[in-house]
Amino acid sequence: MSMETTISPKQEKRNYKKMRKSELWKRIKKNKLIYLMILPGLLYFFIYKYLPMYGLIISFQEYKPYLGISGSEWVGLEHFKRLFASPDFWMIFKNTLILFGLQIFVYFPIPIILSLMLNEVRHSFFKKGVQTLVYIPHFMSWVVIVSISYVMLTLDGGIVNAIIESLGFEKINFLLNEDWFRPMYILQVIWREAGWGTIIFLAAITAVDPQLYEAARMDGAGRFRQMWHITLPAIRNVIIVLLILKIGDVLELGFEHVYLLLNSSNRNVAEIFDTYVYVAGLQQGQFSYSTAVGFFKGAVGLIMVVFANWLAKKFNEEGIY
């Protein structure tokens, strides 16, 4: 666990050094109640998050459950080498980055736009109604969503193709054509999560003082300008925090969802790291290899988060740490 401290920002350390010891102590003492407040939380993170992290060791071992961590053989970077040397590594990496790009550039703005639109609704009944309806899909599991998609899109009597055909067009092979995988993936993500995503922004928008809108209207600002100059700045902080967290999830694209969409025809564009190790990890008991891939995913995520947070700080934003 020594590695976290080495990664921690250097600048802060320098600041500490500069500060006289006594002054530092005074600052700590002043906040002793605050430390008491965060103590249970820190204990929680230590016990349930950091203690189990020793399990990451097995990514450098040939772990066998009956031998345990202490008895398993060390293999160094063998599993990482195997991952990078795999003929599919770059294909998977590319697929992952493209899906990540879709998540950031296509999906991410939608809940923001949706909540801005909802914020402009004056009829509370309509607003609450729409809010409640759009958040329902979040509660449907991917299994159900993917199977409903199948029923709608299949060539064998799906309603979408029936409509396309009745309009005089050729049927479209949505399910067994790799070109359709990415649109389908992101549309399903949007459909399921966009409404749910608005909740947090709507909560942030409540902080806006209604008088600000009043004043803006007096100045003759139109609706779009009000959104741009009043609403958006109010939720900027939350947007940035969410964006950084999302960036950290770069290799975390929803295993179950992708796995259910994956088939022999779209594997070239749909295989991601999680689906790639699924067979190896679960069905063939290769604990070490799947842990190594998890380790790799975490490391990439960490680099992305550190970078994104650094960028945010550059622009004088709060960031996430």
Partner: protein
């Protein structure tokens, strides 16, 4: 009032398109759910014969009668309600304390701690070491195993913290001058003006607890303590033909689609009802309004 007169043509157009688009979006998002609900009230024959059933022509409660004919689903719902209520309170309590503490800009070590918490979002030790810790802390086969190991969700805590950071420091300063300590500042001043944030994060926790599934299977060997999601998942998986077919047990026909849909409805509606209930905390200007009050 004067306000009404100010509504311009452009504004009216805006409203029209806005309402229209939102209604359309709501319709699209809700259609598959109507399909689920509709199928749950239809006969199996109609479901098998209609491609995308929305409203059954023959309304029947057969599927519901079937799933409610044993107490399994009631027990599952009961467990889920207890875990969701208890877990949300538990998690909110500790998350609020931690988030508020870490939102204080003058806290020494704040950045390091925050970083260490972000770190847990990216790396985890895996199923087996976590199981060992849960075992060592004596939680196995207790409902607490569904709550304590997920006491604080780092993601939720960070969001909550970012809400707290936005609160003007002047509010806290003035309270301090009046001799209030940090706890009373948090509970008397910060929380009341953070209701939208509290409601949001509570909802997030409630939904997470409601959806608890994997932990129940790993940590609870007594099937009588399984929450509704385990049952739901089992039915959905069986009815979707996702189980391993090999050497299949003698013929267990997959559950009917109608039963699958009815179970989805029963397992989903309770948690769907939480949001409308919380919506009153999202009223515009709630924050500043209560500061004044």
């Amino acid at each position: 009032m004067a306000k009404k007169k100010r509504i311009t043509m452009g504004s009216r157009m805006f409203d029209f398109f806005n309402y229209f688009l939102l209604a359309l979006i709501a319709l699209i998002t809700v259609l598959p759910f109507i399909h689920v609900v509709g199928s749950s009230f239809a006969t199996s024959a109609e479901v098998a014969n209609t491609k995308f059933l929305l409203f059954p022509t023959k309304f029947t409660l057969d599927a519901y009668e079937y799933i409610f004919s044993t107490d399994t689903i009631f027990k599952g719902l009961g467990v889920s309600v207890i875990v969701t209520l208890g877990g949300t309170l538990w998690s909110m309590f500790f998350s609020t304390l931690t988030a508020y503490g870490l939102a204080r800009k003058d806290l020494v070590g704040r950045r390091v701690i925050n970083f260490l918490i972000v770190f847990t979002l990216l790396f985890n030790g895996g199923m087996i070491p976590t199981f060992l810790v849960v075992q060592q802390t004596g939680l196995l086969n207790s409902l607490w195993a569904l709550i304590i190991p997920v006491t604080i969700n780092a993601f939720n805590m960070i969001i909550l913290r970012s809400f707290f950071v936005n609160i003007p420091e002047s509010l806290e300063e003035s309270a301090k001058i009046d001799g209030a300590n940090d706890f009373s500042i948090l509970f008397r001043i910060v929380l009341p003006i953070s209701l939208p944030a509290i409601a949001t994060i509570s909802l997030f926790y409630a939904v997470t607890y409601w959806n608890t599934y994997m932990h129940a299977i790993l940590y609870l060997s007594d099937a009588g303590k399984w929450p509704i999601q385990v049952l739901l998942r089992q039915i959905v998986v069986l009815a979707s033909g996702l189980t391993y077919d090999g050497a299949a047990y003698t013929d267990v026909p997959p559950p009917e689609t109608t039963i699958k849909m009815a179970t989805i409805v029963v397992a989903t509606v309770p948690i769907l009802l939480v949001y409308p209930f919380l919506q009153k905390y999202f009223a515009k200007g709630a924050l500043l309004g209560s500061v004044k009050g």
